[in-house]
């Protein structure tokens, strides 16, 4: 274990964290403002990736497909909102979970029918296809820097939006007390629609950015949805700042855990025992983190003010 490897792994963790933030940002917004558990966020992310693959086939340009996939994801999200979700805002969280879980099943199958079951390919755009040497023998794709850049840009933009604009103020108010905001004369239905469309767009954007480096296949959203929920629970529901900090934390701990747990165990266990336990412990690391955070601060690290 050398210092350069440690630095590289830390950097990898940071990048994974920012990727998670891109996915979690929309989820925490929707959950925070509308108190709506949207399990379908994962399939919205998946659809963003699939839309970008199809748009790329049509336009031949990565950047065009990114720009077009965003409104496509938003429109699809609004379609789901009008058809299904808007009837569930008043309902129990469990019923929201059931309904959105049904959407997951339905869309996973639907995607298989439309695009087929085999994984699809999305190439990295030529402009971003170079790589820089990170350490001896290891190169780092420029595209991953683009993902980090996009994630940080989204984080900054969201933060400014939520703190410095009028709609952002309404979003924060809605996250604190939706009923009061409605009583003060704001069209809460329109606010919810805007928030939801925006959340869907964020999910789709994450899917588009990720498509060149990860496999585009039915069910690709399920694994990342679990990680996104872990992130928003640790960060505090409804808080963008919390989602960012938690995402980086989860990314770094997961990456460092996977890299070094087995080696650390080998210090005081036999190699075969370390190899047997290490991977299992490493994959548990982020859930242990979540348990610890919830025990110490049940509302998360940065709870939106006023939430119980």
């Amino acid at each position: 274990m050398s210092t350069s490897l440690l630095i590289v792994q830390f950097f990898n963790g940071l990048q994974l964290g920012i990727l998670l933030f891109l996915v979690a940002a929309g989820l925490t917004l929707v959950f925070g403002v509308m108190d709506f558990i949207n399990l379908a966020h994962g399939v919205q992310y998946m659809l963003g990736a699939y839309f970008s693959v199809t748009l790329y086939r049509i336009t031949g340009s990565f950047f065009a497909s990114v720009l077009l996939a965003l409104p496509a994801s938003m429109l699809f999200g609004l379609l789901l909102e009008v058809l299904v979700f808007r009837h569930l805002y008043e309902r129990d969280h469990l019923e929201q979970v059931l309904a959105t879980f049904g959407i997951i099943l339905f869309l996973n199958q639907g995607v298989k029918i439309v695009w087929g079951a085999a994984p699809l390919n999305m190439p990295i755009p030529d402009a971003l296809s170079g790589s820089v040497p990170l350490m001896d023998g290891l190169r780092y794709p420029v595209y991953r820097f683009a993902i980090i850049g996009a994630g940080v840009a989204v984080a900054v933009a969201l933060y400014l939006f939520v703190t410095s604009t009028r709609i952002g103020m309404l979003v924060r108010a809605g996250a604190t007390n939706a009923a009061m905001v409605s009583a003060l004369g704001v069209d809460i239905k329109r606010l919810f629609m805007i928030v939801f469309g925006f959340g869907a767009m964020l999910a789709g954007f994450a899917g588009v950015m990720v498509a060149p480096i990860l496999s585009v296949e039915p069910g690709m959203g399920d694994q990342i949805l679990i990680l996104a929920f872990v992130v928003i629970v640790i960060g505090g529901i409804g808080s963008i700042r919390g989602a960012f900090v938690a995402a980086v934390l989860v990314g770094v701990i997961d990456t460092l855990g996977r890299s070094f747990t087995t080696d650390m165990l080998r210090l005081f266990l036999s190699p075969s025992a370390a190899r047997a336990i290490g991977p299992a412990l490493a994959s548990m690391a982020i859930y242990l983190l979540m348990a610890v955070v919830l025990a110490v601060r049940p509302a998360g690290l940065f709870p939106a003010k006023g939430r119980a």
Partner: protein, 390 residues
Amino acid sequence: MRMRHCLAGISLLATSVLGSSAGHAQELKIGIMAVLSGPQAVLGGQLRDGFNLGIKHAGGKLGGLATTVTVQDDELKPDVAVGKAKQLIERDKVDFVVGPVFSNILMAISKPITEAGVFLISPNAGPSPLAGKGCSPFFFATSYQNDQPPEVLGKYAQDKGFKKAFLLAPNYQAGKDMIGGFKKHFKGEIADEVYTPLGQLDFSAELAKIAAAKPDAFFVFMPGGMGVNLVKQYRQAGLDNIPFLSVFTVDEATLPAQQDAAVGFYSGMTWAPNTDTPENKKFVADFEKEYGYVPGSYAMQAYDAAMLIDSAVKAVGGKLDNKDAVRAALKKADFKSVRGPFKFNTNGFPIQDFYLVKVAKRPDGKFETQIVQKIFESYGDSHAKDCELK
């Protein structure tokens, strides 16, 4: 009213009893059990398509009998698979069950099917318990025993003189089996042996470890979408100067997504789409014409299963009631396999040649694996000695 219901019930019962006993000798009923939903559905699809092409090439009649195929989706869930297997045996009364793709499903359904006296032909899964102590006279595999493909890469690495290897696999039984298979013939230094959680998407941490370890070769088992991610990220990280030895990571199911990233990477198998036999040329050409994609080993092995059943049913003249005769006919494997020489071991697993294969891009833009060199000839598996069958 009750009289009419009674009469209807009795007549229904009568026709079903008459129907089943009369129809059974004239037609052949096959049940296919494969994963047809979820991320791995593409593999079950290949199995089904390969088998159906086999029936088509046999003129729609395997062994001269009109053949009906019932397809069941095991959803990659062992408990669901057992229920559907029972349906195939008890409700549909199939003569053969062909499937599944995954070994955990096979371990769940093999006992219920073989103990009911129905022949189970696996065109893919080949777990070691069924090759050794758990072997059954009703079980045959047209694929391989799971340990064998990784042994190909281990032998190649050893013969090529690689001194240090880095091993990577997902953290479940098949992952451990593949690593074990590689280590059987490779006697060099193991730089590191890393197990990742099933479904892991981002391999940056593991790729950094590989670069730090500077091995002579990299051996990996990363099936399905995980393999797509790994191959793309391996290439993007600039690690492709380290030879990429793999099993079930770069195959025709994942190549359409990996594309150029996988070109030049190695794998081990009994066959490749460019295997030079007349039967294979016909199989690959007709498969691509019928289904529009390049067949992988899953389709090939299912096709051979159809040919095997065809030869066995022909040999017993369509009389499937004498199970011993059917078994003897199956054991003969009196058909020309697309992969070349093929015969059965005492445990129902094949004895066949194994090759090192390499990913290449075809002139028509599609990707496939191609034969590089033969590594094992007439290679039986190491568990046959534990099987009591002769």
